[in-house]
C-alpha cells in the first residue's frame, strides 16, 4: 500500500507524521519527495548506501551546423532558447526537456546535453529503507527530481511518501499514484484554508484521503466542523504538547520516546488499510 502525506500549508507536521508512521509499522519504505527541503533524514539518521546525480536533458546547439533560423526558439514555450543573428543561447534552468527543439531543428544542429538538477540518495535506517532527493540550489524545477525518487518505489512494501508543502505541480507529482493521502493540518484558519485547497486537488485527481489534526487544542474548531460537514474522516489527533515540540526540535521522532504513540500510528495505518480496501 502506498500512502502519501501532504498538507497544503507548510509546517503542519507532515514529516513528523510520516516518519512516526513509517517507524511504527516497521519494514517500510520511506520516500522523501520534499526535494526542495528534505527533512526526513534528520529524524531517521540513515546510512546512505548510494548517492547519484540526477540529470535532465537540455539542448546543446552545435554552432557549426546552426544557421540561426530561430525555429527552436519560436517553438520553445518556456523561453529556454534565444537566437540572435549570430548566436544561439540555451537557458537550461528554463528547459522542461520536452524535446521539441531537437525535432524542429531543420539543420539537426541540436543534440541532448545532460544538466544536473539534483542528487538521489538511497539508504537505510534499521529495517526502514529511505529514498530521497535533493534539488540543486538555484534549480527551479523540483518535478524531475521527484520523478527520479518515485522510480524507486517498491510496491511490495508499505510505502510512505512525504510530500512538499503547497498545492501545485510538485505536490501532484508526489501524491499521484498513491492508494491513500493523509492530509496533516492544524486547527487554525491557515491550516483549514490550505486543507480545503488540498481536498479540491485530491478530489480532482481521485485519490482517497483522510485528515490528521496536529497540534490539537490550539486555534479553533472549524477544521472539525469542515470535516464533519464534508464527511472527511479524522484519522488521528496529535495534541499540542511541549514535549512533542521539544523532541521534534531535536530531531527525535516522538513515538520513539513516548511509546504509546507507536500503537496510535499502527492503528492509523490499519484504519487507512480498511478505508482503502472498502
Amino acid at each position: 500500500m502506498i500512502v502519501s502525506v501532504a498538507s497544503g500549508k507548510g509546517g503542519t507536521g507532515k514529516t513528523s507524521v510520516a516518519v512516526n508512521l513509517a517507524l511504527s509499522i516497521g519494514n517500510a519504505q520511506f520516500l522523501d519527495c520534499d526535494v526542495e527541503e528534505p527533512n526526513a533524514h534528520l529524524f531517521l539518521h540513515p546510512r546512505i548506501g548510494r548517492k547519484e546525480p540526477i540529470y535532465v536533458s537540455v539542448p546543446f546547439v552545435n554552432e557549426k551546423l546552426c544557421d540561426h533560423c530561430g525555429k527552436c526558439a519560436q517553438f520553445c514555450q518556456y523561453n529556454a532558447i534565444f537566437v540572435s543573428s549570430d548566436k544561439t543561447l540555451v537557458f537550461p534552468k528554463l528547459c522542461h526537456s520536452c524535446g521539441g527543439c531537437f525535432l524542429v531543428c531543420p539543420k539537426k544542429a541540436i543534440s541532448e546535453e545532460k544538466h544536473r538538477v539534483g542528487t538521489l540518495k538511497l539508504g537505510s535506517a534499521g529495517n526502514l529503507r529511505l529514498v530521497y532527493g535533493e534539488l540543486e540550489i538555484g534549480e527551479p524545477m523540483a518535478v524531475p527530481v521527484i520523478k527520479e525518487v518515485k522510480k524507486h518505489i517498491e510496491k511490495s512494501k508499505n510505502v510512505i511518501l512525504d510530500s512538499p508543502p503547497g498545492t501545485s505541480c510538485p505536490v501532484i507529482k508526489t501524491v499521484n499514484g498513491s492508494d491513500f493521502c493523509v492530509l496533516v493540518t492544524e486547527p487554525t484558519p491557515f491550516g483549514l484554508h490550505d486543507l480545503k485547497i488540498m481536498v479540491e486537488v485530491l478530489r480532482e485527481i481521485g485519490i482517497q484521503y483522510g485528515v490528521v489534526v496536529n497540534r490539537a487544542g490550539i486555534g479553533d474548531k472549524k477544521v472539525y466542523e469542515y470535516c464533519r460537514e464534508k464527511g472527511i474522516p479524522i484519522l488521528l489527533e496529535i495534541p499540542f504538547q511541549r514535549r512533542i515540540a521539544e523532541l521534534y526540535s531535536c530531531g527525535i521522532p516522538f513515538s520513539l520516546e513516548m511509546t504509546d504513540w507507536k500503537h496510535e500510528f499502527l492503528a492509523l495505518h490499519d484504519r487507512i488499510r480498511e478505508l482503502v480496501n472498502k
Binding site: 507548510g10 527541503e37 517553438f75 522542461h96 524535446g99 521539544e246
Partner: protein, 291 residues
C-alpha cells in the same frame, strides 16, 4: 523603491505572521503575497479586490476526435506522459510544450490557452496589496509570482510607495526563486528545530546564489535555546545579520483565529514588541527613512 522578501525554506515558521505585522507597522507600503499556491495573508489583512485578472500561464493540448486516427504518435513522443492510453489529454500532466501538435500527422491537435489562476490588486486598511490564487494542481507558480510582483511594482509607482514587502513560499524552487530575484534583502524566518536549521541553510545558499542580501529572524526561539545558539553561531560565522528573536506565544494563534495581525491583536505582548524591534532593525538595514 526597496523590495524585501520574507522566506523561510521550511514551511510554518511564521512568514505570513511577520509579513502581515510588517504591513501594519510599515505604513504606506505595498504588500505582495507570492505564496500563490497556498496564500494565507488575505486572512489577516482582509483585502478588498479592486481588480482581478485571469492568469494564462501556459497552453494545453486539445485533440479533435473527429480528425484523430488513433495512431498514438502523440502518446509515444510526449515527454510528460500526458496522453492517456485511450488518447485523451491528462490536463494535470500536460505542460503545454506543443510537441504533439507538431508531430500529429493529421493536424488533429491544437494548443489552447489554459487559465491557471487569477491575480488580484486590492486595497487593505494599511495600503495596497497584490496577490493571486493559483488553481489547485496547476504548474507555473513561478510565472504567477512574477505577475504578482509586476503588479506590486506598478502599485508602488502609482501610490508613490518606497517599499514592497513580499511574502514568499516555502522551499527553494521556482516560486521562491521568482520571489527573491532582484530584491534588496531577503528576510529568512526560521525556528530552532533541526528541520528549521537545515532548511534555513539551504535558503541562505539560494540567496547567495542569486546575490540577495540575507537577514535572519529566529521565531519561537525559546522552544529550543541550544538550537537558537546554533543558528546564532552559524550566522555569526557566515557574517549574516540576525534582526531579532521572537518568543513562542499562543497569542499568535489566537490573533490568527480572530483574523488579526498579532501587533494589532495584542500590541503590548512580548511577541508584538519583539516584532516591532525586528521591523525597526529590518527597515534600518534597508535604509528606509520612516518615523
Amino acid at each position: 523603491m526597496k523590495q524585501l522578501t520574507v522566506v523561510s525554506g521550511k514551511g510554518g515558521t511564521g512568514k505570513t505572521t511577520i509579513t502581515a505585522s510588517f504591513a501594519v507597522l510599515a505604513k504606506h507600503t505595498i504588500v505582495a503575497d507570492c505564496d500563490v499556491d497556498a496564500p494565507d495573508l488575505h486572512m489577516l489583512l482582509h483585502p478588498e479586490t479592486i481588480k482581478s485578472q485571469e492568469f494564462k500561464g501556459s497552453k494545453i493540448a486539445l485533440i479533435d476526435e473527429s480528425k484523430c486516427t488513433k495512431c498514438g504518435l502523440c502518446r509515444q513522443k510526449c515527454a510528460f506522459e500526458a496522453i492517456t492510453q485511450n488518447l485523451k489529454v491528462d490536463p494535470i500532466a500536460c505542460e503545454g510544450c506543443g510537441v504533439c501538435r507538431m508531430l500529429c500527422p493529421v493536424s488533429a491537435i491544437t494548443m489552447t490557452d489554459r487559465t491557471s489562476g487569477y491575480a488580484y490588486i486590492s486595497k487593505t486598511k494599511y495600503g495596497f496589496m497584490a496577490h493571486a490564487k493559483l488553481n489547485p494542481g496547476e504548474a507555473n507558480s513561478g510565472k504567477l509570482v512574477t505577475l504578482v510582483r509586476q503588479n506590486a511594482s506598478m502599485l508602488a509607482k502609482e501610490k508613490n510607495s518606497d517599499l514592497i514587502i513580499i511574502d514568499g513560499s516555502p522551499g527553494v524552487g521556482c516560486p521562491v526563486i521568482a520571489s527573491i530575484s532582484g530584491v534588496d534583502a531577503g528576510l529568512a524566518v526560521t525556528e530552532p528545530t533541526v528541520s528549521g536549521i537545515h532548511d534555513l541553510e539551504r535558503v541562505l545558499l539560494l540567496m547567495k546564489h542569486f546575490k540577495v542580501r540575507p537577514l535572519v529572524c529566529i521565531n519561537m526561539y525559546d522552544i529550543n535555546k541550544d538550537n537558537t545558539a546554533r543558528i546564532e553561531n552559524f550566522c555569526r560565522k557566515n557574517r549574516i545579520d540576525i534582526v531579532g528573536k521572537i518568543p513562542f506565544n499562543h497569542i499568535v494563534t489566537e490573533a490568527m483565529v480572530c483574523g488579526k495581525t498579532v501587533v494589532e491583536y495584542s500590541p503590548q505582548s512580548e511577541v508584538s514588541k519583539e516584532i516591532k524591534n525586528v521591523w525597526d532593525i529590518t527597515r534600518r538595514n534597508l535604509q528606509l527613512d520612516r518615523d
